[in-house]
């Protein structure tokens, strides 16, 4: 058996089977247990090493050939698999509490498997095709059956699809550069194509309009899952590019370009979040900011930047999950999620409103919450290079904090005659409480999740050194 079969084809098969099952609880249970097993397997099973159990021995080979291409998942990728499938468990486990398990568990598992395949494929440029397949699979996940797809969904499809040819074209040019490294014109063209490709895939401003639109149209929890999986995998894919091509990694302008793009995303996301009146859109802009922060960590360079990049992953996943979960609960009471319509909801939905506000503040980097340690490291890293750069970043951050203040004000306003109650179900209360505690504990003890990402830099031969 090979590792790609275990972590790519088997999940695809299980996802296909789950689509045929009708019982929501069975789907959720199977998806969770199966994903848990995949995570445990990634944690415990060595790759390319013979294992002996009694008289039976087997080896999990790292490579699998398909259509002339290779899918390779080596020993170094195990931490990544633990992170990807581990975070998927969290998303799948909470889904039944908000009645989102049916499509999310099956299609979500398939999307996860395809995105893992995108990270495993060699030559790695083919990842663009696998990402596109995952995008196509997201369509039925994001659009309710029988409903006309909204503008955000169409825009998502267009922008992600536009990204694919740019990446593939750049691959074609890159082959030329390898043959003729002195051709500066070719290098410049390839760099522009790579830049455009990633701008579309990562929703760099101004190609980010699909995110807030989608947050308005679809279930916040489902979009939250998509907004966690896609940018994360695309960022890994981008790091793969940097790791693979020396000319790109050593380009003198790379640092300033990444810093500019990162600032553009953080400032545009933060400032636009400050002016939103829809709770879902605020989350959308926060995700844009987070992608910007990841790009800024890459701009810091070296192992320091890479360490902060990986450090952001767990708090981001957690904050996004709590925020999207809380939003989905509130949507039951207030389908529009407009600030004007959620007045006073804090008294009826205290757990959901607390979760939403804490997750928002965590992504803004408020001290004591999970997002603070990595954000603090980014701010300090940027400040040691340039104070004006960090001032721009803080401007964007204050935009997100301002949006949180407006949300708190809306939740707290309205009639104070109403009694405090909790309309959340027991499962929702338990999950949100776990979410609060995790946000607080990771804010105080960020070292607890270091083992989850400490081996991740080893994936990259050059960047991780």
């Amino acid at each position: 058996m090979s590792a790609p079969v275990l972590w790519i084809f088997l999940p695809l098969l299980v996802a296909g089977c789950l689509l045929l099952v009708r019982n929501r609880k069975v789907i959720a249970l199977v998806a969770c247990i199966f994903t848990l097993l995949l995570t445990l397997a990634a944690w415990l099973l060595p790759i390319d090493t013979v294992m002996t159990i009694g008289s039976w021995s087997f080896k999990l080979s790292s490579s699998f050939e398909i259509l002339g291409r290779h899918l390779v998942l080596g020993s170094n990728d195990r931490t990544l698999l633990v992170l990807v499938y581990g975070s998927a468990i969290a998303w799948f486990a909470a889904a039944p509490a908000i009645k989102a398990a049916r499509r999310l568990s099956s299609l979500g598992l398939a999307i996860t498997a395809l995105l893992v395949a995108a990270l495993a494929v060699e030559p790695f440029l083919y990842a663009a095709l696998l990402i596109e397949m995952a995008v196509l699979l997201s369509i039925p996940l994001l659009s309710a059956p029988g409903e006309k797809p909204g503008r955000g969904l169409i825009r998502f499809l267009i922008f992600q699809t536009l990204g694919m040819p740019f990446i593939l074209f750049s691959g074609w040019l890159l082959a030329g550069i390898e043959a003729n490294p002195g051709d500066l014109g070719l290098v410049q063209q390839a760099a522009i194509l790579i830049g455009l490709g990633f701008s579309f895939l990562l929703a760099v401003f101004p190609f980010s309009s699909w995110i807030p639109l989608l947050m308005e149209e679809a279930s916040p929890y489902t979009v939250g899952f998509i907004l966690w999986m896609f940018p994360t995998v695309v960022l890994f894919f981008g790091l793969g590019f940097l790791d693979h091509y020396t000319w790109l990694r050593d380009a003198p302008a790379l640092g300033s370009i990444l810093t500019t793009v990162g600032i553009l995303m953080v400032v545009s996301g933060g400032l636009l979040a400050a002016f939103q009146r829809h709770l879902g859109r605020i989350l959308g802009y926060a995700v844009i900011m987070e992608t910007g922060f990841s790009i800024l960590t890459i701009s810091l360079g070296g192992t320091v930047g890479l360490n902060i990049f990986f450090m952001l992953l767990v708090p981001r996943s957690l904050s996004l999950a709590v925020w999207a979960f809380a939003l989905t609960i509130l949507k039951e009471d207030s389908p529009t999620l407009m600030l004007g319509d959620i007045k006073g909801l804090g008294r009826a939905w205290p757990f959901a409103t607390c979760g939403l506000v804490l997750a928002n503040l965590a992504l803004a980097g408020m001290p004591l919450l999970a997002g603070f340690p990595p954000h603090q490291a980014i701010w300090e890293g940027l400040a040691s290079n340039s104070l004006p750069v960090v001032s721009w970043v803080l401007l964007g951050t204050s935009g997100l904090i301002f949006s949180a203040i407006r949300v708190i004000l809306a939740f707290a306003s309205g009639s104070t005659a109403a009694n405090w109650e909790s309309r959340e179900t027991g499962a929702q209360r338990v999950l949100l409480t776990i979410g609060f505690l995790a946000l607080l504990l990771l804010g105080l003890f960020p070292q607890w999740v270091v083992p989850l990402w400490t081996n991740l830099p080893a994936i990259f031969t050059h960047l991780g050194q």
Binding site: R155, F275, A383, L444, P446
Partner: protein, 518 residues
């Protein structure tokens, strides 16, 4: 380990009270547990004196090449007087609750929990620890206040106060970044001159002094017990920072300007405190005014002098705000607090008017009338008839209640003699004499003329001015302007032609960047 002892006592007591509430709701002696726990904590704080300074750290944050500081707490000459004052306040709140209609174990648990957080804040050894504990206090206060407010306007005040505190926390983080940009890892021992002023403004902003703002129009239902703890402990958590900013870090051209702002805040708060109908309605002004005096001491290059005002904010304020049941023969008790405010030799505030090298002694002059106003207001409110009479209470409460109040007065006297490095001295006797003479004059005025005037209204022109409503209105105008621009941008990008607009914008950005690159 000694440093954790009072915190552990308070947390264990709070936890016991909460567990008992669920497991044995009819338990008859929760007060005994709360009072016992608070006294143990009070005794244990004296154990800090066995070895000062001492510190304790949490496990360092990893990776260590990214985080140079770990959350660390320090018991020293600055944190001890604040910690002692806060524990004395918590004990007094619980002991004096016997005369009030506050018999909720949850409120006592919350008082102990908040005090424990307050001690963690004043003991913060570095800015990282401080912002962590500040955030915990801010979140706790936000939840507690929102659960107890009585109207939309008050809710708005609570959220604005939270936002101002968050901005203060942000300024500490900014000070750290300014320091990092200068190649210095900022700690309270090594604060560069470029960052010190931000720390001071951060504390001032959190306290409502710099710029002067009063988010709360009136006090809410959390009145005497937990409300007093909430107000005073959260203020003390910010005040302790003032004592940790070295005078050398405050060499900025902004200092005179900030002194003027602090003087305006102190005089306004002093006047409103004197004119308030009762001490509870005047409480926001008490906190604001005492904080202004503390900020002024720090600006005058006298960080240890700020401790005097800080501890008197807690002890003097606590004495008066908990003095709800009154009787002629215990009026001397709150008046003992007056000693603490007098700046006379060997009082806790004796060193308050000393100035550092860089400030001229005349800089204290504008603050003396403010001190006089506070002392006069203190006397005026102490002489009120009160909410209830102590005479109607049971005999045992007649013993416990004054004992609780006396604890605060005794701590004030003790700290004046044996508090911290700046305590136990003669101070600036001439400033104390002027302030006390002014206080006598204001008291006479208050007891003769002011009683005939209408009490200060929360909707007066001055109050509206200092509540910064005009700032919020101006900000709203700007917000609406930028909202329209943001709306235009998003509607263009998200509309039917959004794709083309996106490409056009990209071309524009690229052309601007390439022009700059050349």
């Amino acid at each position: 380990m000694l440093i954790l002892l009072p915190i552990l006592f308070m947390l264990i007591t709070a936890l016991t009270l909460v567990i008992l509430r669920f497991v044995r709701p009819n338990f008859k002696y929760p007060w005994m547990i709360a009072a016992g726990g608070s006294v143990l904590a009070l005794i244990s704080i004296f154990l800090w004196q066995i070895r000062l300074p001492q510190s304790i750290s949490m496990a360092p944050w990893q990776p260590v090449n990214l985080f140079f500081f770990a959350p660390t707490w320090l018991a020293d000459g600055i944190s001890w007087p604040y910690a002692l004052s806060m524990i004395a306040l918590a004990a007094a709140v619980i002991w004096t609750s016997v005369v009030r209609a506050e018999s909720s174990p949850s409120a006592w648990a919350a008082t102990l929990l908040l005090t424990a957080l307050g001690i963690l804040a004043v003991g913060a050894e570095n800015p990282l620890t401080l912002v962590l504990v500040w955030s915990a206090i801010d979140l706790a206060e936000l939840v507690a206040m929102l659960r107890s407010t009585e109207g939309e306007e008050q809710n708005q005040g609570v959220v604005i106060a939270f936002a101002a505190r968050l901005a203060g926390t942000g300024l500490v983080l900014w000070a750290n970044l300014v320091s990092t940009a200068g190649g210095i890892l900022m700690s309270f021992r090594a604060t560069p001159a470029s960052a010190g002023i931000y720390l001071l403004i951060a504390a001032g902003l959190r306290l409502g002094v710099l710029p002067l703002h009063l988010p709360y129009r009136k006090e809410n239902v959390l009145r005497r017990g937990f409300g007093t703890t909430l107000r005073l402990v959260s203020a003390a958590a910010s005040l302790s920072l003032l004592a940790r900013i070295p005078a050398s870090a405050l060499k900025s051209s902004l200092v005179p300007f900030l002194l003027v702002l602090a003087a305006v805040a102190a005089l306004y708060a002093g006047w409103m405190w004197l004119r308030a109908s009762d001490e509870i309605l005047g409480r926001p002004f008490w906190v604001l005014g005492m904080a202004s005096l503390s900020v002024a001491a720090s600006l005058n290059g006298n960080p240890s002098g700020s401790i005097g005002w800080g501890v008197m904010l807690i002890l003097g304020g606590g004495l008066l705000f908990l003095f709800s049941a009154r009787q002629r023969n215990i009026t001397w008790l709150p008046l003992l607090g007056l000693w603490g405010l007098s700046t006379l030799p060997f009082s806790p505030t004796a060193s308050a008017w000393q100035t550092g090298n860089q400030t001229f002694w005349l800089a204290v002059i504008p603050f003396l009338p403010a001190q006089g106003l506070f002392m006069a207001g203190f006397i005026r409110h102490a002489l009120h008839p009160g909410e209830t009479s102590l005479e109607s209470q049971e005999r045992w409460t007649k013993v416990l209640y004054p004992t609780g109040l006396f604890m605060l007065a005794a701590m004030a006297i003790l700290l004046g003699i044996w508090g911290w490095e700046g305590a136990g001295n003669l101070g600036q006797w001439w400033a104390a004499v002027i302030a006390n003479v002014l206080a006598a004059g204001f008291t006479a005025l208050a007891l003769t003329v002011l009683v005939r005037l209408k009490p200060a209204s929360s909707s007066s022109q001055w109050t509206r001015l200092f509540r910064l409503e005009w700032v919020y209105k101006t900000m709203t105008v700007f917000y609406d302007f930028f909202y329209r621009i943001a709306g235009l941008l998003t509607s263009s990008l998200e509309g039917e032609g959004g794709l083309l607009w996106s490409l056009l914008l990209l071309a524009l950005i690229l052309s601007v960047l390439s022009t700059q690159g050349r």
